[in-house]
Structures are given as C-alpha cells and as structure tokens.
Symmetry: C3
Subunit: 348 residues, 3 copies
C-alpha cells in the first residue's frame, strides 16, 4: 500500500516522535499571498524599511503564516482522520522567521484518551517547527478527536497531559531582536496606541467584516500544504453531516488577526498561544467579524523596548461584534466560531 490512509487513534503511541514531510522554503511569494488572502496591515511584516528602522534585519513573515506552514505538515500524520480540532495550548513563537527560510515540523505524542463510546479518541501532540539548521522557531500543543479504525481495538492507558493555561511572560519572545520603540513610527503603523494605552478588561470591536469564498480558503490551505480532505473535496462532502466543504480553522484565526488591526494596529507580532478553540465551523459565503478583550498587560523580563498584551479574540460569523457576542456560562453565542487566547507584542 503506497498511499497514505492517515493514522487512526490506535496507530498513535505515547511518547512517539513523528517527523513530518514536506520541508518548505517560505518566500516573499508566500508573504504576498498571505497578504492577498487575509489583508493584514501590520507595518512590521509589511515593510522592510519599517521593520529595519524598528530593529529587525528585514520584514519578518507573518507569525500565522509560519504557524500554518508548520501546522500543515502535521496534518497527514496527525489529523487526516480527525473529526475535530479540539484545542491549542502552550504555543510559543520562538523567533521571527524571514523569507527564504526553510521550515519543517516534528510532533511528539503527549497524550491519548479513548472516547467513552470507543469510536474515537483524543490525541494530544506537541508540534515544533524547525529551521534548516535545526533550530526551533515555533512550538505548540494541540489535541484532536481522531477516528478509531475499530471500536473494539485495544488501546493503551489513558494519559491526559497537564497543559498550562497560559504561557508566562518570561517565556515569550526569547529571541526577538532588541527593538527601538522610539523609532517605531506610529503614524505609519496606523495607530497612536502603545502598550501603556491598553488596560485589562478593555474590549474592542474590530468593526470590519470579511466574507470568505471557496477559492480563497482552498488557495490558502493548499499554500500551507495542509491536505485535510474536508477542505477540498465538495463531492465527498455531500455525504458528510455538513454537506459541504469545511474551512480550515486556521483560516479563521488569520482573518480574525487581520481584522484586529482595527484597534490593535501596534500589536506587531504574536508571541504565544495560551488557549484556542474552534467553537463552530465556517463555510464559504459566511462573513467573519471579530472582537477582542485585553486580559492582561505584561512587561517582559529584562526588556524595556516592548511588552505583551494578553488578548482574547472572539470571531463570529454573520454577526457584527458591536455587542461583543460571547460565552455565557458554558454556552457560546451561536454566532461565535473562534475563541483564541494569545499574547501579542506591543512597543512600549
């Protein structure tokens, strides 16, 4: 059998390390496509001149482009037979990545838990993206609900990893170059608001909406070499419970981040992912909106140039966010599709 049917729950072994195909040199072409697909306007990633004045050697790639490329590689080995992507934790963007660098991914199986109905199980992995020299650039945990090949198949002991609810500020941005906040041109960046202008508890409606087309999410998801068939095969999708193609959850994350520019224009880089959940699926034709809550404003130990905002960004479909649609108790407003808790960097 030369084709890859993907792993089922029984195929994962606790502690196992999986090296993923395909290494990928990410270029300025990918960066241009990323801009075209999501419309981000953060100046650091948009302009070599702006990034250079601020202290970067050149404009780094969007952190989420790096995330999607690293994530995409894990799909054939981890989530080809997944039913749902359940969550993220302990995500750390370890250093800026630049056009021309080659990324590859490795995952470690850190937890396995069969579902009570024995039809499925939850697989917990820690995935790490590496550069061509073997240096880690990104690491995160995610857990996915994966089909069992055989409900009666034997499984090992249940291990649920103990994951941190938040990345500590001391663990953020370990290799960020020394930056020059006095050279950060707020006018060119699009907003006068710096770290000190935000306060925990503040909520921001990002106002704008973005409608998603089938061609757009397919182009994006292929760019990331993510092969999950649910995103691409409309013919097979007619036999699924949704009856149509599902949009890659990361597409929503990137849209929400791009929309968040309106209110968070100086949140110039991502540093950590504390928690993330795809609350509901998105389909082509839906319009995505987002709002954010500031959960904390943190100094980074030893740095006087930048600090971090802990943000919770909630994305909705087909409902603007002026009323901040949210979770009430355990139940989400039916418009909510994403709940992402992360750290972003801001100049002080």
């Amino acid at each position: 059998m030369k084709t890859d049917p993907g792993r089922y729950f029984e195929d994962f072994r606790l502690g196992e390390t999986i090296r993923h195909a395909t290494p990928r040199t990410v270029t300025g072409g990918d960066a241009a496509l990323y801009t075209a697909l999501y419309g981000p306007r953060f100046a650091v990633q948009s302009s070599d001149a702006f990034a250079g004045a601020f202290g970067y050697p050149r404009a780094p790639l969007d952190d989420l482009l790096v995330f999607h490329v690293v994530f995409g590689k894990t799909v054939p080995d981890v989530s080809l037979n997944a039913i749902a992507n359940l969550g993220y934790a302990e995500g750390r963007f370890l250093r800026p990545v630049y056009p021309g660098e080659t990324l590859s991914s490795v995952s470690e199986v850190i937890g396995l838990k069969e579902s009570s109905n024995r039809q499925t199980g939850v697989v917990y992995v820690r995935s790490t993206g590496y550069d061509a020299a073997g240096g880690a650039v990104l690491t995160y945990c995610r857990w996915v609900l994966v089909r069992k090949r055989d409900p009666a198949g034997p499984v090992g002991p249940e291990v649920v990893p103990s994951l941190s609810g938040a990345v500590a500020p001391a663990d953020l941005a370990p290799a960020l170059p020394a930056l020059a906040p006095e050279a950060y041109d707020a006018g060119l960046a699009g907003s006068p608001h710096r770290l000190g202008d935000y306060a925990a508890g503040e909520r921001i409606d990002h106002v704008d909406g973005m409608t998603v087309e089938e061609a757009e999410h397919q182009i994006a998801t292929r760019l990331f070499q993510n092969t999950a068939k649910v995103h691409f095969d409309a013919h097979a999708a007619t036999q699924t419970r949704f009856g149509r193609r599902l949009i890659y959850g990361g597409h929503v994350i990137s849209l929400a981040r791009a929309l968040s520019f309106n209110g968070l224009a100086n949140a110039f880089a991502l540093a950590g992912i504390n928690a993330g959940r795809h609350v509901a699926p998105l389909f082509a034709g839906d319009t995505v909106y987002a709002w954010s809550e500031v959960k904390a404003v943190a100094e980074l130990p030893g740095r006087r140039d930048v600090g971090a905002l802990r943000l919770r960004t909630v994305a909705t479909k087909n409902q603007p966010c002026g009323a901040f649609p949210d979770k009430v108790g355990d139940a989400y407003d039916p418009a909510v599709i994403l709940d992402l808790d992360y750290w972003a960097l801001m100049p002080r």
Copy 2:
C-alpha cells in the same frame, strides 16, 4: 476609541496633509499575483531579460500595481465613509518602481465642497506615493463623495481646486531611463505597431472579455491593503442599495489595461492619468470588455527613444465593444463602467 471609524466630511481641513499607514515593500510575489489576477502580457514588466535589453535595470512593477498600493493606503483616511469615487486627474507616474522597493503614501486635502443636500460633501485630495528614501514615485488627484457625520454640521468655505484636464507631454516620465528602441524586440513583445503606427482618432476594440469572481477582486483588493468594507462584507452589503459587494474600481482599470494588450501591446508603461471616471459599478459574475480611442500621439521633449499615446479606454460589462459603446452627450451607454483618459509610453 481605538478603532478607526474613518473620517466624515467635517473631519477634513483644507490644506491638511495626511500621512497614511501602512508602508509596503512590494516584491516579486506581488508582481506574480498581479499577473495572476489580471493577465497582463506587456513584455517590459514580464521579463527581466526583455526589460534589460530595452534599457531598464530589470523588469519594473506594473504601474497599476504601484497605483493600487499607493491608493490602498489612502482609503482608511480618505474614503472609508465614501459613497463614490468621483474622479481622477493630474496623475503622473514619476519613475519605474522595482520589486523590493517600499512604498508609502501621503495625501493633501486640496478641495472641499459640501453637497446641496448637506448630507455629503466632495473631498479633493492630491495623493503621492513615496519610496523609502522619500522620493516621489507617483502623484494623482482624486475626489470622492463622503458622508457627513451630521447634516447640520458646520463646514468651511467651498474650495474646488482647478485641475488640469490633461498632463502635458513635457511632464511625462521625468525619470524614465534612456531606452533603446532598436533593441525593443517587437516579435517578443507581441505586436509590430510602434508609436508612429497610431493616429489620433483611431479606435481599437480589444476583443477579449474577462469575467470577474468574488474571490478574485477580494484577493486583489486585500493585496493592495485597501480596506473599503464595501468590497469585502457580503453580510453588511445585503443592507445596501446594491445588496451585494462592490468591486474596487481599480480592479476594472487593471482589467481594462490588461485587455488593451490586444491592440496596444507596445504601450509598455503608463505615464499619466488625465481624467478618469467610474461610470457604473461592477459586480462579481460580470464580464469586462474594453475599447480604446487614440486621442493624441505625442513626442516627449528631448527624447528620441519613446513617445506617448494619449488614450481613452472605455470598459463595459457584459457587452463586447465591437460597436464602441460610448457617451452620447452626457449619457453613457448603459454598459459602460469606466472612462479613463491616460498617457502610455511607446517605443518610437
């Protein structure tokens, strides 16, 4: 308030200078996307080897890609609350721009005129695109109809700028490198017709048609970091008079220019915009056609390598242009969507 609601008519001050976010390094990735979105085939922009033989250091970016990037930056400050983009004048492409250069934009408010119903007003701006060293690469005037925040709100005295009806040949292409028309390979360029083969009054049907999809215009408009919500939000658009997303007017300009290759293959660069008007909106699913009229054939003072054609290109939707659908008196043929009067360069 950290989000940007956009300016209303009352927020503009005559003589005010607005520095726009976000600076943008335009790369070969953007050039590839531009080709993929519009299909231009002009050899100078398509081939480093061709451009090099002709006298350029390398293939420059398409002039309209530069235009759209410069224009896109002005949208959050100038036209987020615009109802219509009324016109263009005094456009000058000041020098070729190459992949890797960083562009930013500044606009000056040169005119303000409240509408008689006091609900809206016309804002006239002169926008200029700059390179990273502060050199101007493009300048043009446009005027837009902008909502007032409050119909009763006081406004300053009416100032309507006196704009030239045409850019003079002496003002075209001030920094174009010395070119070698004898090295311009007409076979590779796709047409034997040079400047002297065109005559004022000549009309050319560009024959081909191009149907536009929602994904295409959204990808293009985001690439230009143009944030006007009318192009992206289908949910909100259901409450508008059109009931659907409007396509960025610049998308039509680029399609018409690409279609004009068939008949104007050697019009290798744009040099000026004399006047331009978006006569009617374009929607996804419509097919764009174009025809052109030669208004003048001009020498450029001091240059024996290239001259300029003054062209008027008319684009239509869902109607081929063999019959040259046009304006009769003040009324346009209902198929017309664009009327653009500009200067293009041609080898002599």
Copy 3:
C-alpha cells in the same frame, strides 16, 4: 487591424517557425502561487534545503509550471481559434528551471491535416521553451483542432508527422545534476518507496479529491499568460455548446500530478511526456480525482542516482478512483477527463 484575431487553419504553413510573445521571468512568487493553486508537496520543489542536500543548487520550479508558462505563450499564435487540444507527444523536460529565469517559446509547424468536413483542420506543432541565453529547457509536440476561416479555402497537402509513442529512457533528463540518493531523506519526502519498490502493472489510487472553483482556474491560467478566451469569458460562453467557461486542460494535469503525491511522493521530477489526451472537459464545481498505473521502471543510461517510472495517470471528475475507471476498448469511462502517459524521476 492592430488586434490579433488568432490564426485560422489556412494561416499555418508547414515548416514555419513562430516566435511567441511574451517572455516571462518566472519567480518565487510564481512558485508560491503554483503551490497555492494545486497543493503539490514534492520536497525537491518545496524546499531549498532538501533540494540542496539532494544535489540541486536550490529548489527548482515545478516542471509543470515551466510547461504551462511555455505553453501559454503558444496560445495566441496557435490555439486562439482552436476547438480542442487533441494530444501531446515527444515531451522532454530538458533541464531544471530555477526561480529568476526568463522563459520564451518558439513553435514549428510540423503537420497540417484538413478535416473531412473542411470546417476545421488539425495543426501539429513542436513547441520549445528557451531560457534567456537561448538554451532549450522543454520541448513537446501537440496537435489542436483549429477552425478554418472559410470552409472552401484552399489548403496545402496533408502532412501528418510521425510522432514517437514514447520518449526513450536514454533521452530523459539530459542535464539533470548528479544527485545523491543516499542524501534523499525519505522521511521528509513523505514516503519510503523508491524506484525499486515500483513494478510495471502496479496501480495506485491517489485517494484524495480536489474541487475546482472558477476563480482558481482563471488565476492559474492568467498566471501562465494563457489567453484562450474559452477560459475567461462567461458572457460569450453562454453562446457555446457548453454554456460556460471551460477549464484549461493543463489545470487538470497539475491537479492530477499534485494528487499523485499520495502514492508517488518520491517521483520528484517530470522527465518526459509520451502521450496525453484531454478526454473530456472540466468545469468549475467539479471534483478531480486520479489514479496511476506503472507502465515501466527504467534505468537511465549512465546514471546510478536516479531512474525513471513510466506512469499513466488518469484523472476523473466527480468519481473517486478506487475502481480505477479506465478506457474499455476505445471508450472511456464517462468520468475520465485526462489520460496522461509520462516519465517521472525517482531516486534509486
């Protein structure tokens, strides 16, 4: 007449050489778009680091991107008035092409055969892609059914070229660098199966399916500067027998090749096209699947690093390929849209 109406059958002369417009510098931006449009995951084209370890100076462009760019240039001169693209033969990928190289195309008319109804004729051309230094990078023959301007128009004697049914292994990959199969990392490449693991007669269902959108094939076809109006003009298409836009046949070839990764992950480059036929048209909304048959496993004279697989890849629409839908006698299964016989390289 300055516009190009395209050639009719009577306009071709046996032995004539046609230099095509427009030369094209193919960049990393084009490579990114190619990945985004088709989703290939072959490691050699995806990663500079992987390609470098294997013996390439850097990641070459996907061979089919080169093919489409070379092909696209021939369309305005050869197939603008074509009714159907009938077949391919004697295709040879002569050397790897790298980002930054400029390609141009030349075709020689090698056969002409009027149809019995005198309304059309078959034009046979040998097209060759050249680099900026005039070195050939790709050559192939194709034949197309072209309209006559006038059924009564006189035509020359019928000449049907004698084309080889297969490219000989000795003619494959004449300028491939010396590669290091021991440095070919099968884990990163995504499959342990090398040349010796395949056997003639073996059939592989590539499993995955890909649904095609109008925006996708238009973006691709414009990227290749292929101007055939049948792909772009939905308004005119309403008057055709299909009533809608036809998808460029090469789009199917690229989709099938990308899908073939699942089962042929180490078929790292294309070396020859023995025969090819677009059996039926593809339309937007259709889902493409593919399967392959190994027709031969060949050594390349003088090379111990890589060998060649002769493959026949069959693509279908809206029908998965687990049952290997095929030709029975002269009749194809109605789901089949492509039948391509080609050589791919694999490490030994």
